[in-house]
Amino acid sequence: MKYLPLVLANLGRHKRRTVLTIVSVALALFLFASLRSVVTTLDASSRFGGADRMIVQNATGIVFPLPMSYAARLQATPGVTAVSWANWFGGRYGDGKRFFANFAVDPSSYLAMYPEFVIPEDQKQAFLRERSAALVGRRLLEVFGWRVGQDVTLQGTIFPGPWTFTIRAVYTPSNKIISDDALMFHYDYLDERLDRRMSPGWYVLRIADPALAPQVARRIDDEFRNSSSATKTGTEQAFQAGFVTMWGNVRFLMNSIGMAVVFAILLVTANAMMMSARERTSEVAVLKTIGFTDRTLFLLVMVEAGCIACAGALLGLGGAKLLYGTGDFNFVGFLPGFDVTPGTLGIGAGLALALTVASGVVPAMRAARLPVVQALRKVE
């Protein structure tokens, strides 16, 4: 638009102020995007779950095991096409400061249950063959500097003592949401070392028809209700969602801080706009004398505010997207697949718009309403 040079020139009047304000807006929107992405990432992981997979856990609590004998009965349940199981191991590597999930699984049935684990075929076979083999997520290779074929020793916490495995396979998740830093090993290895039959921590089932999940769940829970260990069965998604809720009221915390951040930045921007406006009364008078309408002057100020907000948004939102989207950030394993969603970017853009209006409207109205004659008296 032909007025653009005028707007840009005004912004360039106090370059330092303009730059500082833009950077403030950028920082605020970057922070907002980061905070909101925590919520969206948790939401995404709570929505994740194979539609045809269900989890059976002990109704008393996840920390209680289920009898091994349930496997056959579960397999026989109508609607269930496959059964696998796992047990939380809870081992630590090195100084134990970097937490990662590690558990014992029934190898062939578990891998069949989770096609999302992408493993080179030869490695997969090597893992299945060897009882002391371990399957690790690709991130663990980076974090700990492990290599395929290396022996690693974990310190058991639930099952005390040192436990040594040989890394035979590395998996890459086909979905970003799945954590890429888990370690899995043979159930038999656990049994062998402990010299007894371990009870699974939970069972994973594949069902024929996802729509029938509620019925299958009810059937299973009814069957075991009066047994030694009552069960709680649900879709994998419900199970995941439950884990996310363990965090507590994170959503509220993040949103509150996000709001505070945006409000604080609004003050900074509005203040800067007001200062610029105050210094320009004589110029506004001159422009009106030349014949610029009140409406045009209103728009000029709004566009100026808009430029600052826009530049800040590009910098802040763009920066966040670049940092989290391309990088491999997952907050020490707690937030796999951390990324800025289009929704967050949209809201961020909306905030920039709101910022424009809120910071620009008062100076713009002042400029539009400026009584020329009075202002001119100052010009003389």
Partner: protein, 229 residues
């Protein structure tokens, strides 16, 4: 019909709690192509008359007609449009926007008209040529001398080819030499280009360059010298 007709204009305004009466029934004409200097002591209402003619202010009663249009009857939006087309205004100081170059400052009135960038460039170049500052078009006001600033302001005042050029104490802040430059330019605009000029001034030299002088004292026309056209 005169280009500017002031008929029975009364103007008063509030200063704090007092009402100040500037004009009580003023009648005066300015012919097309005239070059008039308005002189008088401070507070005699010279600037107010200029503001009334330019439509920046409204008379309490009476009529102000410029080129046949009753300026005093137009609303604010209409006035803005009208002003862009008909008036070129030059102040004593703070004329130019410091963030724009001389070229951009002169271009401002043209942004209000539906002209292409090329057409704007042509007119600005002509205007700056007339005032003798073509070689300075990319300079910022802070890089210009006082006289050059005012000449740029005049270029801006003529670039849209207005009906009327109004100047309020244009040489008030300038030294003798720069004042001469400005006044000579104005004289040229009137002689060569037949521009109608009304200039409010304390400067006796300006009065010399003008073709007619009006003395205002306490809102009343006291003396008239020279020929109106």
């Amino acid at each position: 019909m005169a280009l500017v007709e002031i008929r029975d204009v009364h103007k008063s305004f509030q200063r704090d709690t007092q009402t100040v009466e500037v004009y009580v029934g003023l009648d005066v004409d300015f012919e097309d192509g005239s070059f008039t200097a308005l002189m008088g002591p401070s507070g005699s209402g010279k600037s107010t008359l200029l503001n009334l003619i330019a439509g920046l202010d409204r008379p309490t009663s009476g009529a102000v007609r410029v080129a046949g249009a009753e300026v005093s009857a137009l609303n604010a939006a209409q006035l803005a449009v009208w002003r862009a087309r008909h008036i070129g205004f030059v102040f004593q100081s703070y004329n130019l926007l410091p963030v724009l170059t001389a070229y951009q400052n002169v271009e401002l009135p043209l942004l209000l008209a539906p002209l292409s960038k090329k057409e704007r460039r042509e007119r600005v170049t002509v205007a700056l040529g007339v005032v003798g500052l073509e070689d300075r078009m990319d300079h910022y006001p802070r890089q210009l001398s006082g006289g050059q600033e005012q000449r740029t302001a005049i270029a801006r005042a003529i670039v849209a080819d207005p009906t009327l050029i109004l100047l309020d104490e244009p040489t008030g802040q300038l030294d003798a030499k720069s004042s001469q430059e400005v006044l000579k330019l104005l004289r040229r605009l009137n002689d060569e280009f037949r521009k109608t000029i009304i200039i409010v001034t304390h400067d006796a030299h300006a009065a010399e360059q003008a073709k007619a002088v009006l003395h205002l004292e306490k809102g009343v026309l006291v003396e008239r010298q020279g020929t109106p056209a």
